[in-house]
């Protein structure tokens, strides 16, 4: 490198002062960042990335203590006093992983950015600061920036807030930006927008970026050079492409190997049913007929006015015995509402859900218990889903008792059998769930669902909180259980890579509607809907993409499910929208071989609108 580095880290160690002995979080980290360079930092959760990011911006707080040097343009800033550090805040900016908590919730976003600008550079007049903030908000493509200036943080979506925080960071033309996991809380399509934006900003402002991420594919999108951190140590440093092609350290090799592949290798699909069975012949175990759910929400600024939030709109599909059916989509697409409808925690406001041909809405008493025995739910959050003070055995016994089992010996026997099935040691029978890993807890969740010997398991983001290794293990377990018990799975997920591995049939949801419904191979290799293409193009993967982000990636964010625009709900973001989209919402049309998409651009030969009978 010709130019002197803007940031130079040498022998940086961070300790956590503990009551007994300190714990080392970071150990002898050393690296440089050149001007205008984007350097990625990758590592697992808990490897010390966030601590590193905080240490570099002089933001560590007790009980963390740091040693070593962090030179910014030659000046050691590691343990600089706050007063001496303040002028440098203009040059060193920081954006964190929690956009919603980063600003005072009670003051408008724009005002707070202007406040920061004047704090780091008191020479700027208030009016000038305001003008610059609006200009930059506009530059990061926040719609009607001048009005948004006065909006509060709670009125921003996560992606919009993250962009506003980038404005906050860039407002003082910093020489270095430390971006700590900025895309982590965002949906894939929005995360891809933010990364694209960051690259534009570095060019425009000549800022160097340290891009910290827990995902190697995400870091690859942004960074030209990448550092890998494992348990507080810097284990490898290479240009990003070389790092992926020829990882040198064992940890990096594992990391690269664990990144799921979508297109290169065909994954082993769990198929217990006939692979090429005729769907119209076997009767479905679950059938959704034109299911809608509308919530009344209080309308701001009226006496008793409410408006309709249409969370799920006219969803129709069939699930057959032995299917691993996936419902995918980004936040707010209605998949959680669909989960509540399927598990009959709520009744739909329109349409019917049939289980073995029987409408589940009017069920009550023994009939409802019967349905509950047939369909069970495995929950998302391994830490919230177990009552904290109940023994594991007792937890698994509870459903049996609810369903009228009385014989203590038989109950115990059944619980032990299920624990064995899901790979839980019988020694855990009397233990409390505290101290168990997320994977173990998810096994308990699965066991709790399995104890009633259901036919259908509804998985609500069951795997999203687990790391790759745990995910593999649980997927293997699911496959085993499916083979042994002939189960049908319904996965509700935002993780297309997991779905690619585990599911044979996939429904893509956008704003409460199913926009595409297809078998696994077809969906990933020949998607019919532009939204599916956008999702695929934004997937974090190391393979060569089938769908280029430049062609498919979306602008903006989904409209509000209250007051939906007329016509196709996707048209405001669709790169291929044309006149008919504004006039009428498209229906699911068949594209042949059981694949359907809801788009006016789909013109497969013989395409025709389908009704409930043909869907699925």
């Amino acid at each position: 490198m010709d130019m002197p580095p803007v940031l130079s880290v040498r022998d940086l160690s961070v300790d956590l002062a503990g009551p007994v002995a300190g714990r080392r979080i970071l150990d002898a980290i050393a690296f440089d960042v050149a001007p205008r360079e984007i350097v990625g930092v990758v590592g697992a959760t808990g490897a010390g990335k966030t601590v590193l990011a905080k240490a570099l911006v002089n933001g560590l707080e007790p009980p963390l203590t740091a040693r070593g040097t962090v030179r910014f343009r030659g000046q050691d800033i590691l343990n600089l006093a706050p007063r001496a550090m303040r002028p440098l805040r203009r040059e060193i900016a920081y954006v964190g992983a929690n956009p919603m908590g980063a600003l005072d919730p009670t003051l408008p976003v724009g005002h707070q950015i202007a406040e920061k600008m004047r704090a780091v550079n008191p020479a700027v007049a208030a009016a000038e600061a305001r003008r610059r903030v609006v200009a930059l908000l506009d530059a990061v493509r926040i719609p009607s920036a001048a009005r948004r200036f006065h909006d509060y943080p709670s009125q921003f979506s996560g992606g919009m807030m993250q962009r506003a925080l980038l404005v906050d960071a860039m407002i003082s033309d910093p020489a270095l930006l430390v971006a700590d996991n900025v895309t982590q809380p965002l949906d894939v399509t929005v995360a891809a927008q933010v990364i694209r934006l960051m690259r534009e900003l570095t060019e425009r402002f000549q800022t160097a970026i340290l891009f910290v991420s827990s995902s190697l594919p995400v870091a690859r999108e942004a960074a030209s050079r990448t550092l890998v951190i494992d348990s507080g140590r810097l284990v490898e440093e290479q240009p990003t492409e070389a790092l992926i092609a020829r990882p040198r350290h064992a940890y990096t090799r594992d990391l690269v190997a664990q990144i799921p592949t979508i297109w290169t290798r065909s994954p082993a699909l769990p198929r217990t049913g006939e692979p090429a069975r005729d769907r119209s012949e076997s009767s479905p175990v679950i059938r959704l007929e034109d299911v809608s759910q509308t919530y009344r929400v209080r309308e701001r600024g009226t006496f008793a006015g409410t408006s309709a939030l249409r969370a799920v709109r006219n969803v129709t599909f069939d699930i057959h015995k032995g299917d691993s059916f996936a419902v995918v989509g980004e936040s707010g697409c209605g998949k959680s509402t669909l989960m509540r409808l399927l598990s009959r925690l709520e009744r739909p406001s329109g349409g019917r859900i049939l289980c073995d041909g029987q409408d589940i809405a009017p069920l009550s008493g023994p009939a409802l218990l019967g349905f509950r025995r047939k369909l069970q739910l495995v929950l998302q959050d391994p830490f919230n889903s177990l009552p904290p003070r109940t023994g594991i055995g007792a937890m698994l016994e509870a459903p049996l008792r609810t369903h009228g089992w009385r014989d203590a010996g038989r109950i115990r026997e059944r619980v032990r059998a299920v624990m064995n099935d899901v790979g839980l040691s019988p020694a855990l029978y009397d233990a409390l769930p505290v101290g168990l890993s997320a994977g173990q807890r998810q096994r308990i969740n699965v066991a709790r669902a399995m104890v009633l010997e259901p036919e259908i398991l509804l998985m609500d983001e069951t795997l999203s909180s687990l790391d790759q290794t745990e995910q593999f293990r649980l997927l293997a377990l699911f496959e085993k259980l499916q083979r042994a018990h002939g189960l049908t799975y319904i996965f509700i997920s935002h993780d297309l890579a997991m779905v690619r591995k585990a599911c044979n049939r996939i429904a893509v949801m956008y704003l409460g509607e199913v926009v595409e419904l297809a078998d696994n191979e077809r969906l990933f290799f020949d998607p019919g809907h532009p939204y599916t293409k956008a999702l695929l193009s934004a997937m974090p993967t190391l393979e060569e993409r089938r769908y280029r982000p430049e062609e498919c990636l979306l602008d903006g964010e989904p409209p509000s499910p209250i007051d939906l625009p007329a016509g196709c709900a996707f048209r405001s973001r669709c790169p291929r929208a044309f006149a008919p989209c504004a006039a009428e919402g498209p229906h699911l049309v068949t594209r042949g071989a059981g694949a359907l998409a809801a788009c006016h651009r789909v013109t497969a030969p013989g395409a025709r609108p389908v009704n409930a009978d043909a869907a699925g």
Binding site: K54, V57, N58, G59, E61, P82, R86, R89, R90, A93, Y94, G96, N98, G101, A102, L103, D104, P105, T106, L107, E115, K116, A119, V120, Y152, S154, D168, R298, R300, G301, T302, F303, A304
Partner: protein, 326 residues
């Protein structure tokens, strides 16, 4: 527009609350033993006279009928007349009950109208004392949990919350008024008579305020925006002054709304002890004299004040934190 609809909704809710309260008090007063007519006419009057008067006053009708009649009057702004008090002069009652004098009995609204400003003055001063003291102690405690100020706040609030207000009033009156002669204490003869009762009430009110404020400040200091604010380059003064205190004010405001009734409870006792001519003294005398219309009137007025204060508090909280507008 938002404010108008907010007001409309809250006032409607408030009307329900006030109706419930007056119905509750109305029913309670009629189901508990103790006949007000007997008190009015005196022990010597024959039972037939008691019945005759009670019937004439409608006190033997079903409760809901009585309530309906009463509510009708209240809506027209008439809180009725005191059973006992004459329009001017001391409380009457006893053997000389005569229907002709009924018109001269004091209207409840006038009695309350006289006493209420006194009480409001006392409550406002007490609140000012309490807020000044608690913000000083509570904010310092919240900024450094576990520090010296925090321990001081804990000690002070533990002691203050353990002092019964009526006892404190007696002791302070003995000390400041009788022994030291610094402040007048008993009765009312000018603004200085408000100070001592206000101090007593402030002592009673401070512990919760201190605890809420120090807790809220400490919680806000733990929020992400504070740590991020430091990294963004904001000064500590600015973070605390412009952001932390602003956010910590919301729970404090809510507390004030809820604490209103305990403040009023304290006011009643302290007024009674120090013979301060406000709503509290009026209430206790009304109860002791079984002056039903007056008790009801006071209940309606206090719950109306509660409703208004809570609307103001929520409006203020909404202005500070727009997320609260639902």
């Amino acid at each position: 527009m938002f404010v108008l609809s907010f007001l409309a909704r809250r006032l409607a809710q408030g009307a329900i609350i006030i109706t419930l309260v007056s119905l509750l008090i109305f029913t309670l007063l009629r189901v508990v033993p103790g006949d007000p007519v007997r008190l009015m006419v005196g022990g010597m009057a024959p039972d037939s006279l008691v019945e005759q008067i009670a019937n004439r006053m409608g006190l033997r009708d079903p409760i809901l009928v009585q309530f309906g009649r009463y509510a009708g009057q209240v809506v027209r702004g008439d809180l009725g007349h005191s059973f006992v008090r004459p329009a001017n002069g001391a409380a009457t009652g006893g053997a000389n009950f005569d229907d002709a004098t009924r018109a001269e009995r004091a209207p409840v609204a006038a009695l309350i109208g006289e006493a209420l400003p006194m009480t409001l003055q006392l409550a406002a001063l007490a609140l000012a004392f309490a807020l000044a003291f608690s913000s000083l102690v509570g904010i310092a405690a919240g900024l450094r949990p576990g520090g010296l100020a925090d321990r001081f706040a804990f000690a002070v609030s533990s002691i203050f919350i353990s002092l019964p207000n009526f006892w404190l009033a007696i002791v302070l009156a003995l000390l400041f008024s009788v022994k030291l002669g610094w402040l007048p204490a008993v009765g009312y003869g000018g603004f200085s008579y408000t100070i001592l009762p206000a101090i007593v009430l402030a002592v009673e009110l401070s512990p919760v305020l201190i605890r809420t404020l120090s807790g809220a400040v400490a919680a806000q200091m733990g929020e992400a925006y504070v740590a991020v604010g430091r990294i963004r380059g904001l000064t500590e003064t600015r973070i605390v002054g412009a952001h932390v205190l602003r956010n910590a004010a919301v729970p404090l405001l809510n507390l004030l709304g809820v604490q209103f009734s305990s403040l009023l409870g304290g006011v009643i006792i302290v007024e009674y002890i120090l013979d301060y001519p406000g709503l509290g003294l009026l209430t206790i005398n009304a109860v002791l004299q079984r002056d039903f219309p007056l008790i009801q009137g006071i209940a309606i007025v206090t719950s109306a004040i509660f409703v208004v204060i809570n609307i103001l508090v929520d409006l203020a909280a909404t202005i500070i934190d727009p997320r609260l507008a639902y």
